[in-house]
């Protein structure tokens, strides 16, 4: 058994490092952040996730000090920081464009913040060397930003923002400019550095995969509000709304009417001509309530014969197959036109796959596979 799981958000005695209290931010008539409260704890890797325009960047800019809230307060380590200008905050930011100073060498870029603190020259040199080593940039210290690659620039930006050992590091879409392979490698590097330095990271991203990979907790935002704040697995396995379920990963959403068939057990009538689905839910639904059944495609089995013991079965024909290499997604159309996605790992070679277009197949899933949502 591990000594302790890192979950300060479950410990009521833990003091949060950052505390948003009823923060509202308006730009003219537009409300970017709407009465939002949020606690972020020390050593967390916290992700703000949402589509563009959801207010996640505004949140970050308020933490950095470039915007101040129209209402509410923001606390850092117990102190209200709303009136503190950006240059006086123990917060550093890694910009989306990296914002490296083009007229300075990599070395001077990293030393820039340290020099503003009027530290002794030798201390600065030591710290810069340490940062260069941490980000494996020793060889490039004397180059200018335009003489290195995109991935290296990203590491310089990270080194520069970490150099002052901030209490909080903000990362604005830090990996957006990198190609996919490099992005994945860098994600692990970021986690590694976060663990090594023990700095609290807040990352803004619209890439749900990135948020799920790096973050200890994810906040899903929409239109200036937090929809759900939870660990990546909870967000994925137990989304609290159709919006979150749909935003994170692939999902089949089936609308229906709930009726109880036992404690925590519900029947979902979704089509008059089809048998109702069965699902377990901790959340109570009243008799006849409108509900949505969300099922992840990888939790749907696909078979040629009708399976005997499955709780939910439906028949349909294969409409489309999306081959992704390691997995395939089958889009199956039911008799009434509803489409359901099922995902299967490609354990066999593609020429031997069991189903192809126009095949009649059975889809099945257990009563705990889906999650029942009310909107």
């Amino acid at each position: 058994m591990p000594a302790s799981v890192f979950a300060p958000w479950n410990d009521p005695s833990e003091k949060p490092l950052i505390r948003f209290r009823n923060v509202t931010k308006r730009f003219g008539d537009f409300t970017a952040i709407d009465d939002l409260s949020l606690d972020i704890f020390e050593r967390e890797f916290f992700a703000l996730l949402g589509p563009s325009g959801c207010g996640k960047t505004t949140m970050m800019r308020m933490l950095a000090g470039f915007e101040s809230p129209s209402d509410g307060s923001i606390e850092l380590a117990g102190q209200d920081i709303v009136s503190v200008p950006p240059n006086k905050r123990a917060v550093n930011m890694m910009f989306q464009s990296y914002a490296l100073f083009p007229h300075l060498t990599i070395w001077d870029n990293i030393a820039f913040g340290l020099r503003r603190d009027k530290r002794p020259k030798l201390d600065i040199a030591d710290r810069v060397e340490e940062m260069l080593k941490l980000t494996r940039l020793e060889k490039f210290a004397r180059r200018k930003p335009h003489q290195i690659s995109g991935g290296q620039r990203q590491r310089v930006a990270l080194a520069r923002s970490l150099a002052k050992a901030p209490k909080l590091l903000l990362l604005d879409e830090p990996l957006g400019a990198l190609d996919k392979k490099l992005r994945q490698d860098t994600q692990f590097e970021l986690m590694d550095i976060q663990e090594k330095t023990g700095t609290t990271f807040v990352i803004v991203t619209h890439d749900q995969e990135e948020a799920m990979t790096v973050a200890s907790r994810v906040a899903v935002m929409d239109e200036g509000r937090l929809i759900q704040v939870a660990t990546p697995d909870a967000i994925y396995e137990a989304p609290n709304s159709v919006y979150v379920a749909d935003f994170i990963g692939d999902v089949n959403i089936i609308a229906g009417i709930a009726s109880s068939t036992g404690p925590g057990r519900y029947k979902i009538a979704w089509r008059e001509d089809q048998a109702p689905f069965v699902a377990m839910s901790d959340k109570p639904f009243s008799e006849g309530a409108e509900c949505y059944l969300a099922i992840r495609p990888e939790k749907v089995q696909i078979s040629a014969q009708k399976p005997d013991e499955a709780a939910n079965t439906v028949q349909g024909t294969v409409l489309d197959i999306a081959y992704l290499g390691n997995i395939s997604t089958y889009i199956v159309e039911l008799a009434n036109g509803t489409q359901i996605k099922a995902q299967i790992a490609n354990t066999r070679r593609i020429s031997n796959r069991s189903f192809t277009w126009e095949d009649t197949v059975w889809l099945s899933w257990s009563d705990t596979a889906g999650i029942l949502l009310d909107g």
Binding site: A64, G65, N87, Q96, S97, A99, F101, R116, S161
Partner: protein, 293 residues
């Protein structure tokens, strides 16, 4: 062949309109003054031969320039006036360019237009109108007397101050535009990054904005300095008898003294002095385009 023709156009242009006239002026500067038409000796004739012609040329006029202190004083005074007005222009232009670059996007074309607008009127007319503003009974003095700021009219016209005002006014757009171009390209997140790393507004300006607009400052300074050094119209219209500028001396040698050889020597020396900043300017432009690629 077509490529050659394309490259040839600017070269022929330079050859016909710069190099040939320069060689003619250079030849006159090596000649002697004469009461003739044209007023210098020797004239080339096929009968005497090239050698005979060349042997009559000498550097007498240049030694004369060095011996009479009027000329080197005029050169020094021109350098001083050009340098001072370049610095003043820079200090006036920078805030304007900065304001333009920070203005809302929809305002910028209008502001740019306002900077360029004076070019629609003749330069000569604009300098003349400054006489009306700066003279003892001019608009400026009447205004200042009217509001009671002064009791005696200020003497501005026909002094060096009027020359500075004229040069700064005339060449301001040449300073504003390159600086604006540099500031416009400046990524606003760089300033935010500087503040985020602990700079005050002023430090961020000094450590990021100024270095990154350096190329614009250099380009603008040369664009003002080079024409200001040989300026003739502004000192002769706005300056007084005490204003000593080489352009004026040159004009007087040509038209008052009708001493073409000495005037040509003055022009050649002026050109040699100007070559230094022109070469520096070219190097700056080249460096800039290399950095951008």
């Amino acid at each position: 062949m077509r490529r050659f023709a394309l490259i040839a156009v600017p070269y022929i242009w330079l050859l016909a309109l710069f190099l040939v006239p320069f060689l003619i002026v250079f030849k006159i500067s090596l000649s002697d003054i004469a009461l003739a038409r044209p007023p210098y000796m020797p004239q080339f004739s096929w009968a005497d031969g090239v050698w005979d012609f060349l042997s009559q040329l000498d550097l007498e006029n240049f030694t004369f320039l060095a011996s009479d202190d009027l000329y080197w004083k005029a050169y020094l005074s021109s350098l001083k006036i050009a340098l001072t007005s370049t610095v003043i222009t820079l200090f006036v232009a920078y805030p304007i360019a900065y304001g333009m670059a920070r203005a809302p996007q929809e305002w910028r074309p209008t502001l740019m237009m306002l900077v360029i607008l004076p070019f629609w009127t003749s330069f000569l007319i604009r300098v003349y109108s400054w006489m009306g503003i700066l003279s003892n009974e001019g608009f400026l003095n009447q205004f200042l007397l009217g509001i009671g700021a002064i009791s005696e009219p200020l003497t501005i016209l026909n002094t060096n101050s009027a020359v500075y005002i004229g040069i700064v006014y005339t060449y301001l757009p040449f300073m504003i535009l390159p600086i604006y171009a540099a500031l416009d390209r400046l990524d606003a997140s760089l300033i935010e990054a500087a503040e985020d790393l602990g700079c005050s507004r002023l430090q961020a300006f000094w450590l990021v904005t100024i270095p990154l607009s350096k190329n614009g400052i250099i380009a603008g300074s040369f664009l003002v300095f080079i024409p200001a050094l040989g300026e003739f119209v502004i000192p002769s219209l706005l300056g007084g008898s005490g204003t000593l500028m080489i352009g004026k001396v040159l004009w007087e040698e040509f038209f008052n003294n009708r001493d073409w050889p000495v005037a040509s020597a003055v022009a050649v020396v002026l050109l040699l002095i100007l070559i230094i900043p022109i070469v520096l300017f070219q190097r700056n432009q080249q460096k800039q385009s290399e950095e951008e690629s």
